[in-house]
Symmetry: C2
Subunit: 353 residues, 2 copies
C-alpha cells in the first residue's frame, strides 16, 4: 500500500443502500486498497444491514479529518476550509442520531452529510491523496432539503473540482462490458435538450471523450457520433441538426486528428458499436445527443454491471448507474454488482503510483 | 390450400435484395401457402441471384392480373382500375428490360413497379383474396423518382387500404422475440415529433395497439407507455409532456378498460419489457413516443429477426426491418432471416380460413 494513494469511497445517502453496498464490497475483500470517506456510525449501519460485525469495517476517514488532511497537504492552516458551506454544519450528526436514523426517508441531514463527504473526497483527490473516487448513490430530494443547489453528483463534482478557477467542462459516460456512451445533454426536457445541442457542445463532448479514452490507454480511440433525428435526418428531410450542427462538429474534431465518424442513425449506431465475445464493436465509444438515446441501449440488457464515469474532471470518478433504492434500503438485499463494477472501473482507469 | 387464401408477397424494388429474399424463402420451402404478386422476369432475377433455376419459381400472379382478379371479385368490370395512377404505366416494363436492369441503382421504373405490385396486393387482400401481405423492401428515392407522393410502404398502405373512404389510422410496430414496440411518431424531425405528440395521438396509439394484440389472441394485453423526457419528466422538472399529454392519455385508455401503465422513464421501460427465456417481460408491448426511443432497443441485439408490422389496417401486413441493401443486391448474399421472420409473423397473425 505505501506510496499508492487509495481509491476513495463515499457512502452516499445514509438512508439509502450506499452504506450496505460499501459493506458488501468490504466483506467481499474488495476494499483492500480503498479508503472510505465517512462517519464510522454510518458505515456501521451498512455493516449491520448486511448482518456483519461493526468492529471490522474498512479503512475509514471522517470527512472533517479528510478536509483537515487535504488542507495540511495543501500547506494551509490545519482546520476547516475558510468558508464552510452551510451544509457542513447540518451534515455533522452525532453517532446516536445516525444509529437511530430511519432507512429510506428523505432527510436534510442525510443530503448535507453526503455532500460534505463528497467535498472531502474531492479535496483529497485534488491533492493526490486519492487515486480515484467511487461514489455510492445520493438522493436528489435530500440534497435539495439541505439547501444544496445541485441536482446530483455530476454538478457538485464540477463545482468543487477547481475551487476559485473555471469549473471543468464535464460529461457523463455510461459503460458496461458491451458499450460506452457519452451524453451531449442529460437532465433537461427533450425540447430544451434540442436547443442545447450546439456545435461547441458537440465538439467539446467529442474532445473530452477522446482525451479520456487516450488517458485510459487507448492510443487511437475510434468514436462514433449518433444523430438526433430519425435516420440521422435523412439528408435534412427529417430535421436539420445533423447538417447544420453535428456534422460540422464531427468535421472539426476530425481536423484536430480525432478518429470519429457520424452522425449515424440513432437506431443502428449502438447496435454496431456493441462489443460481444463474438464480434468487436465498430468503435470505442458512442457520443449520443440525448439522455435516453444513450441510456436505452446501455440499460437494455440489465442494470447489473453498468457504470457511470464522469469525464473531464482532474481525477477519476465512477459510480453505479442506479439510485438509493429507498424501498429496500437497510434490508441487506441491495445488489452490489454495479457498485463493484464501478470500483473495478475506477481501479482500471486510475494511475497506481 | 383450397379455401385458404394465400399469404401475398411483394418483391419490392427490382434493383434491391427483395427478389433474392423471396427466392431464398421459396428455395427453403417457405412459400407453400404463398403467392407472389409480381412479374416473372423480376422473380427470375432473384432466383438467378441465388444460383437457382428460373423455371421452378413460386406461385406468382402478375400485378395487372391481380388488379383484374380483384376487380372481378369485387363484381366490377374486368380490367384496370377506373383511374389508373401515373405509375401504373411507368411500372409496366418488358421482360428483356427487367433482365438487363442494373442491380443497386435508383430507377423510376423500379419505384413505379414496386408501387403497382403493392397496390395490386392491397386490392387482393381487401377482397379476402389474400390472408396477409408480406412486403420486400422498396427504395424511397426510386419511389420519389416515379412521382409517388409517399415516403414508404406505411403511407401507401394507409392511402390504398380504404379507397374512397377515410384512410385508416395506422401505427408501426417493430417486434422481435424479446420486445414489441409501437411508435406514436415516425418519419419526422425530433423537434416536429414533439409537437405531434398529442393526447389524441397517444390515446389512439394505445387503442390501436390494444386492438391488434386482442385480434392476435391475447385476451387482456398489458401495455406500457414510455415517456418522452429523461426520467419521464421527473414530475415536470424535465419537461411537461408527461404531465399534460401522456399521463392523461394513459388515464383515458384505462377508463376504456385497457390495461396500460406509464408514462415510464424511457431508459428503463424497454429493459423491463424485455422477454427472455429466463424472465417474462413486464408487458406485451411498449408504446414509444419517438422513432429512436422505440427502435434503439428493438435493434440493439441485431437486425436478424426484427419484423415490422403495420397496425390498424383491415388486413395483416408485415415486412423485414431493413432496406433494399443496394450495396449487395444481386449477389445472392442477402440474409433472409428478417424476411422469413416477417413471413412467419404474417402467418401467425392472419386467419387461416
Amino acid at each position: 500500500m505505501s506510496g499508492v494513494a487509495p481509491v476513495l469511497i463515499t457512502l452516499g445517502d445514509p438512508a439509502g443502500i450506499g452504506p450496505e453496498l460499501v459493506a458488501r464490497a468490504h466483506l467481499a475483500g474488495e476494499l483492500h486498497d480503498a479508503m472510505v470517506v465517512g462517519d464510522p456510525a454510518v458505515m456501521a449501519r451498512g455493516l449491520r444491514a448486511c448482518g456483519a460485525a461493526t468492529t471490522a469495517g474498512p479503512r475509514l476517514i471522517h470527512p472533517l479529518d479528510a478536509v483537515a488532511q487535504a488542507a495540511r497537504a495543501a500547506g494551509l492552516a490545519h482546520g476547516a476550509p475558510a468558508s464552510a458551506p452551510p451544509w457542513a454544519t447540518l451534515g455533522q450528526v452525532d453517532a446516536p442520531v445516525w444509529e437511530a436514523l430511519a432507512w429510506g426517508a428523505v432527510d436534510a441531514r442525510c443530503g448535507a452529510y453526503a455532500a460534505l463527504c463528497l467535498q472531502a473526497a474531492v479535496g483529497l483527490a485534488r491533492l493526490g491523496q486519492g487515486r480515484a473516487i467511487v461514489t455510492a448513490p445520493i438522493h436528489k430530494e435530500s440534497l435539495a432539503a439541505a439547501g444544496l443547489p445541485y441536482p446530483g453528483h455530476t454538478e457538485m463534482l464540477q463545482a468543487w473540482a477547481n475551487p476559485g478557477g473555471t469549473p471543468p467542462d464535464v460529461r457523463m459516460m455510461l459503460a458496461n462490458d458491451e458499450l460506452r456512451v457519452v451524453l451531449v445533454t442529460i437532465h433537461q426536457s427533450l425540447r430544451s435538450a434540442i436547443e442545447a445541442i450546439t456545435f461547441e457542445r458537440v465538439l467539446q463532448t467529442i474532445v473530452i471523450t477522446h482525451a479520456a479514452l487516450r488517458a485510459w490507454g487507448l492510443d487511437q480511440p475510434r468514436l462514433s457520433v449518433a444523430g438526433l433525428n430519425p435516420h440521422a435526418g435523412e439528408g435534412g428531410l427529417f430535421g436539420r441538426e445533423e447538417v447544420e450542427v453535428i456534422a460540422p462538429a464531427v468535421a472539426a474534431a476530425r481536423s484536430q486528428g480525432i478518429v470519429v465518424d457520424g452522425p449515424h442513425p440513432p437506431d443502428t449506431v449502438f447496435m454496431r458499436a456493441r462489443h460481444t465475445p463474438q464480434r468487436p464493436g465498430a468503435c470505442d465509444a458512442v457520443v449520443a445527443m440525448t439522455h435516453d438515446h444513450g441510456l436505452i441501449p446501455v440499460k437494455y440488457l440489465g442494470l447489473d454491471q453498468g457504470v457511470n464515469i464522469t469525464l473531464g474532471l482532474p481525477f477519476v470518478r465512477t459510480s453505479p448507474d442506479h439510485g438509493t433504492a429507498f424501498d429496500i434500503a437497510g434490508l441487506g438485499q441491495a445488489d452490489p454488482r454495479s457498485f463493484l463494477a464501478a470500483l473495478a472501473m475506477a481501479r482500471r482507469l486510475s494511475p497506481r503510483a
